[in-house]
Structure formats: structure tokens, C-alpha cells
């Protein structure tokens, strides 16, 4: 780019950097604020004195969590959910996306299946029928309600399908001549050639299962079966939906909470996302762009 260093241009550069830095810091603030609260002295945290930095230093909150069985229980449920949910949907999604990536010539029913899948993405029966259906399967209060309840992540299937479709056709043709069947081709050739998009959908699905709280709230009647996000939601955010609530009651409710302890729990819940974040960052741009394939 040609550099024209007029005064106006320089002022713009400075102002621009300041604006962008403020925006960037605002996105870091949630993490920093939560962390600061969690290591602050309890009294300061609860009095609302923590704003931009920790006040005092105390690991009491983390120590308290160490002996909190309910917290670890929910943490464990979330881990199970992420592992089972991601693993299962990954296999199912890949197996679905491959035949759908074929042309109608190679797979006659392709278009019919595609329309069913798209219809399921765009239309749903609504909350109550969905809930009653899962109830009728006797899945309430089981981990399978959380793993299966969200149904097939159709959008991810489409991502995979579009990627498979753009793989060079001659690799597959060579394998066919060598006598490889469809399963060998899928898992021996197509999957190894598609690792970036598989990484993308794995991360998307994993983060979805980790972050999802609503199914946990609705499908689990027993608080001891809540996944971590639902546990935190109940603990920190939940306010009685009683319509007689007055502003004064609301004020008192918000003063009751143990801010530092809650922040420590929230921070622990964020940590896994932060750990996979570099990978997310690397792949998700590709993932989003793959969502739209122009032909």
C-alpha cells in the first residue's frame, strides 16, 4: 500500500489504534474481571469494590470449591456430555455428509434426504412437543437426553458435505479402481483429507455441548444431574420468576450472592474453552467460510 503520511492520516492512525485497543480490551475484560473477582478478598468482592483489578489476594474461593462435591459432580457431567456428544455426533455427521456429498447420479435418493435434512434445520415442533417427546422416551434425567436431545447438528453436516464435495474426484476414482469399497474410501481417504473441516466441526460441537445450559435445565429434574453451565446458571443468575418481585427484593437478592466464590466457579468453567481457543481460532474462520460455497 502506498503510504501517504499527511497529518490527518497520522491522527487517524492514532485515533484508530486507540479505538481498536479499547474494543480489544473490552473483549478481554470478561475474563480479567472474573479472574480478579475470584482471587480478591471476599469482603471486597461482595461489596462490589472489584472493578479493574483484584483487591487483596486470596485463594479461599478456589479452596472452597475443592471440597464442593456438587460443583465437581456437574463438572464431570459436562465432561461426559462433551465427550459422548461430540464423539457420537462426529461419527454420525461424517457418515451422513459423505453420501449427501455425492451427485444424484451416484446416489439416487440424495436430493430427498437433503430436503428432509434441510427441512429439519429450518422447522421444528417447538419446545413443548420436543420436551414431551424426550419424556416419552424415558430419557429425562439421563445423560442421553443431553447427548441426543439437540438432534443432529445439521449445519455442521452441511459444512462437512460442502468440504467433501470439493475434494478432487480423481483420488476417489483411483481408490475405486484399486477395489476399495465406500466405507474404505470414506474412512481411509475422505476423512484423512478433510482434517481441517473435521477439526472445525469437532470444536463447534464440543463448545456447544460445553456451553449449553437450557437442555440441562429443562431435561434434568434433579439438580444433582445438572451440567456445569446449568449449575452456574442456577447459582449465579437465577432470579425467581415470581411476578410479585419488587425492586427492593431484587436489590437484596443481588447483595446476597457470594461474588468471589461464584466468579471462581465461572472462571473454572471458562478454562476449557480458553484451552481449546487457539485451535478454535485457527479453524473457525475456515469453518465459517465453508458455510457458503459458491459454485
Amino acid at each position: 500500500m502506498v503510504q501517504n503520511k499527511t497529518l490527518g492520516s497520522r491522527i487517524f492512525d492514532i485515533v484508530n489504534i486507540i479505538i481498536l485497543t479499547i474494543l480489544t480490551l473490552s473483549c478481554l475484560y470478561p475474563l480479567w474481571y472474573t479472574f480478579s473477582l475470584s482471587i480478591s478478598v471476599k469482603s471486597a468482592a461482595n461489596a462490589g469494590l472489584v472493578t479493574f483489578y483484584p483487591i487483596g489476594f486470596s485463594l479461599a474461593s478456589y479452596r472452597e470449591i475443592m471440597s464442593d462435591i456438587k460443583f465437581f459432580n456437574s463438572f464431570w457431567i459436562s465432561i461426559q456430555r462433551v465427550v459422548l456428544g461430540t464423539g457420537l455426533s462426529l461419527v454420525v455427521m461424517i457418515m451422513m455428509a459423505y453420501p449427501l456429498s455425492k451427485s444424484k447420479r451416484d446416489f439416487k435418493a440424495r436430493d430427498i434426504f437433503m430436503w428432509i435434512v434441510i427441512f429439519c434445520m429450518l422447522f421444528n415442533g417447538g419446545l413443548i412437543p420436543w420436551y414431551l417427546t424426550i419424556k416419552s422416551y424415558h430419557l429425562l434425567d439421563t445423560i442421553w437426553a443431553l447427548v441426543l436431545g439437540g438432534s443432529v447438528p445439521v449445519f455442521n453436516v452441511i459444512l462437512l458435505m460442502n468440504f467433501f464435495r470439493n475434494l478432487p474426484a480423481d483420488i476417489e476414482e483411483a481408490a475405486v479402481i484399486d477395489g476399495a469399497g465406500p466405507w474404505r474410501i470414506l474412512f481411509g481417504i475422505v476423512v484423512p483429507c478433510s482434517l481441517p473441516v473435521i477439526a472445525t466441526v469437532t470444536l463447534f460441537t464440543g463448545v456447544y455441548h460445553w456451553n449449553e445450559f437450557f437442555n440441562g435445565l429443562v431435561l434434568m429434574s434433579d439438580a444433582s444431574k445438572y451440567p456445569l453451565q446449568t449449575y452456574i446458571q442456577q447459582l449465579v443468575v437465577s432470579i425467581p420468576s415470581d411476578t410479585t418481585l419488587t425492586p427492593d427484593q431484587y436489590k437484596r437478592l443481588s447483595e446476597l450472592s457470594n461474588k468471589s466464590l461464584n466468579a471462581a466457579k465461572v472462571f473454572i468453567a471458562i478454562t476449557p474453552v480458553l484451552i481449546v481457543y487457539p485451535f478454535l481460532q485457527k479453524y473457525f474462520v475456515t469453518g465459517i467460510m465453508l458455510g457458503a460455497v459458491k459454485e
Partner: protein, 298 residues
């Protein structure tokens, strides 16, 4: 050859089986529950034996004062989000595009995506931490002698709070598509413009923005399908009865109607209306996107 092709197709059906079964059990079977919307559903009698009442549920829904307010709230919040979630990321992408230091650019890009991957449960604890009664804003106001305010329980600013925090959480993520589109702008255009004496503002206005216009139009059209989705997760985690008047949206209302007040039939009817309208809107938006931007998802 033909029999061989049939043989392969058999395997394709087999590959589709688990996914289609999953869809059947958890997406398609619930669709049949829609008939509850036309019944006076009684859990004891079940779908097969509950009394049919035609469109009575729908008539009743529209008579409720709540329903109108809820629709108004949903539209205001979602349209506000749609507009600002286009404009703010666009401005952000344009500003970032003007930064010359690649390292700084990369740093900014890395950080601004973070909030997108945090759930609304987590973000709500932080929003409440900031705007709550003894939260950051009130504490800072206190330094300057201000009186603490109950932001989270004030219906007059709750929608703005929802829209603002949503934009804050998502602007980095929403900018990705703009940033990707910007990388494909031909650099020669800028050089030619500079030789012709264009300043940066003029280059931005006459080159960058027109290059982004198809993307802006596409995103705007696709957003149409979300007009009834004002963001359940966010609202549910931030609202309280004191702000129902402005903050209650279709999804939260249906949730309370159905699973807290156990009005199964009414909630199903409301959900059906929402699903049907959304379905039409999304279909229209896809058709428009295909016609005008050559965009197709499959």
C-alpha cells in the same frame, strides 16, 4: 456396472441410517406434537384422547395482553440486534483494515473472538457484575458521588442493554466474514487510487465499501430469518420479572407459559406460530440470497 452401482448405493443408505434415525426421533417425531396446538391437551389423556378445539388456542393467544407486548419486544430487540450486528462489525472491520502493523492486527483479531465462545450463562454473570446493583458501573459512579441505580431492573433501558451486550459479545465474530472479504480486495485498486491522489478516506469510501457491499447485502438478507429470534439464552439469563414489560420475548414467554405454567397447548400453539413464520422468513431469505448474491448453503 449397474448392479455394482446399486451395491454402492446400499452402503450409502446404511451410512445415512444413524443420522436419519436421530433426526426422526428428535426432530421429526416432535413435529407431530404440533397437533396439541389444536387440542385442549391433557397429559392424563395424551395426544390421542385429548379434546379437539380447532383454532381456539390461537384465538385465546391473541386475546392475551402479553402476546402483543411480547411480539413487539421480540421485534424491537431482534431488529435492533440485526442492524447493529451488521454496522458495528462492518465499522470494526474497516478500522482494522486500516491498521498497518500486521502483528497488532493479528493480536486484535485473536482477542475479539473470545466472547463469542463464552456462553450467555457466563456472559450474564459478567454483565450482571458490571451493571448489577453493586456492580462495576455503580461503583465507579460512586467514586464521583453518583447514586447507585438498578440498571438490571429498569424496563426503560433493558432492551438497549440487551442489544448493546449482544453486539459487544458478537462483533468480533460477525466481523470475520467482512475481514475475509477484505483480504480478497485487489491491492492494485488502492495503488491506482493513490496515484490518482485519493486519500485514505476516499479509498475506503470508493473502494473498500463497494467491495463489501455484496457481503453486507447477503448478511442482511440472511438475518431476515432471525427476526423472531431475539436471543433466548441472553434474555433468559439477564431478565427478571421487573423488566418483563420490555424484555420478555416470544421464546422466554413460550417457555414460561409451557414449562412453568404448564399450559402445554397454548405454548405449543405459540411455538407453532413462531416456527411457521420463521420457516417462511428463512426460506424467503435463502431464495433472495440465491437470486441476488448467488449464495447457496447446499
Amino acid at each position: 456396472m449397474k448392479t455394482k452401482k446399486m451395491g454402492i448405493q446400499k452402503h450409502y443408505y446404511l451410512m445415512m441410517l444413524p443420522g436419519m434415525l436421530w433426526l426422526l426421533l428428535f426432530s421429526i417425531v416432535p413435529m407431530f406434537g404440533i397437533i396439541m396446538a389444536f387440542q385442549d391437551y391433557n397429559p392424563g389423556q395424551g395426544i390421542l384422547h385429548s379434546e379437539w378445539i380447532g383454532l381456539e388456542n390461537f384465538r385465546y393467544l391473541f386475546q392475551l395482553d402479553d402476546s402483543k407486548q411480547v411480539i413487539v419486544n421480540t421485534l424491537i430487540i431482534s431488529i435492533g440486534k440485526i442492524i447493529l450486528n451488521l454496522i458495528v462489525p462492518l465499522i470494526f472491520a474497516l478500522l482494522l483494515n486500516e491498521v498497518r502493523s500486521l502483528r497488532y492486527k493479528k493480536f486484535v483479531q485473536t482477542v475479539v473472538f473470545v466472547p463469542h465462545f463464552l456462553s450467555w450463562v457466563i456472559m450474564a454473570t459478567i454483565v450482571i457484575g458490571i451493571f448489577g446493583y453493586n456492580g462495576v458501573v455503580n461503583t465507579i459512579a460512586g467514586w464521583f458521588g453518583g447514586q447507585p441505580r438498578l440498571f438490571m431492573a429498569d424496563p426503560s433501558i433493558f432492551r438497549e442493554l440487551l442489544i448493546g451486550t449482544d453486539v459487544w459479545k458478537e462483533f468480533g465474530y460477525n466481523a470475520v466474514i467482512f475481514l475475509a472479504a477484505l483480504t480478497s480486495v485487489n491491492p492494485n485498486l488502492y495503488e491506482a487510487a493513490a496515484i490518482d491522489g485519493a486519500n485514505r478516506w476516499q479509498s475506503m469510501w470508493h473502494i473498500t465499501l463497494p467491495e463489501l457491499t455484496p457481503t453486507i447485502v447477503l448478511l442482511g438478507v440472511l438475518a431476515l430469518g432471525n427476526i423472531l429470534n431475539a436471543g433466548f439464552d441472553q434474555v433468559y439469563n439477564l431478565y427478571n420479572p421487573l423488566v418483563y414489560s420490555t424484555g420478555d420475548i416470544l421464546d422466554t414467554w413460550i417457555y414460561r407459559l409451557g414449562l412453568q405454567n404448564l399450559q402445554f397447548s397454548l405454548a405449543t400453539a405459540a411455538g407453532l406460530l413462531k416456527s411457521a413464520v420463521s420457516f417462511i422468513l428463512i426460506t424467503v431469505s435463502y431464495v433472495l440470497a440465491y437470486k441476488f448474491a448467488d449464495y447457496r448453503i447446499f
